[in-house]
Symmetry: C2
Subunit: 121 residues, 2 copies
DNA sequence: GTCATTGTCAACCGTCTGGTTGATAACGCT
DNA sequence: AGCGTTATCAACCAGACGGTTGACAATGAC
């Protein structure tokens, strides 16, 4: 295995990059639904929606429970955690760095007359 | 315009679906860097990395300031907010619904002796 | 001016993606 | 058993994606 979390994130971000799939997620957040119900509002074949659901499923964002010939689709929020944690981590780092930059600029303002060029960092 | 936020999210999620680009973001969270510096660790041409940076830029995740012939790349955390807000909204909805389901199951457990089959919901 | 450095642009290539249509499977109903 | 409903599978297609190589633009250094 190359890295399970990496592949999970690949699939999850890719899944949510499609607006139709984000809309599916949005609707499934409100209530479970069958593929047929989900397909209703879009000008798109049932097969296309079925494929979208499959992508969401492989990304772990959704589970399908087999119930007769219907397969109600249910949103599984767990992978969302993984995504928000990844995003938040780097957002926070970047913000902290931004604030450190502010501090540096403040210090530079104090020792303003320093025109030597030897700090390459 | 079809919907600016939608397109923004399309680009942002798609950008982060690639592990190389997530790694770029991770490194840029620590410090700004030039395309050349960024390209170092990967077994990949400079042009390929340049393309990745371009994708990140068009997703609004990164800005490039022109400074001589170098173009230091800087992480812009703002779009991250949009993504986390989107994710968190539906995660929360789904969780609330999950808890309502629990409540329903509790009520069903109370009226347990009811063996009539007519509630189809 | 000439040269080295840094990076982008353009064309190409194989693969993945998002859609289509047609056939088929699985189940409930009568 | 036969039919209708629900959904998946398979083949196909156009376009996007991630990489390559080669040419070129822009700037700093000599």
């Amino acid at each position: 295995m190359v890295d399970e979390v990496t592949e999970q994130l690949n699939r999850a971000f890719a899944a949510l990059a499609d607006p139709t799939r984000r809309d599916l997620v949005a609707r499934l957040a409100g209530a479970d639904a069958t593929v047929g119900e989900l397909a209703q509002p879009y000008g798109m074949s049932l097969q296309a929606v079925s494929k979208h659901v499959k992508v969401l499923e492989e990304a772990g964002l959704v589970v399908r429970s087999k119930e007769a010939q219907r397969r109600p689709v249910h949103l599984d929020a767990e992978v969302f955690d993984l995504m928000t944690k990844w995003i938040e981590r780097y957002r926070r780092e970047a913000e902290q760095r931004y604030q450190r930059l502010d501090a540096v600029l403040d210090r530079m303002a104090v020792s303003e007359g320093d025109t030597s060029e030897d700090q390459t960092s």
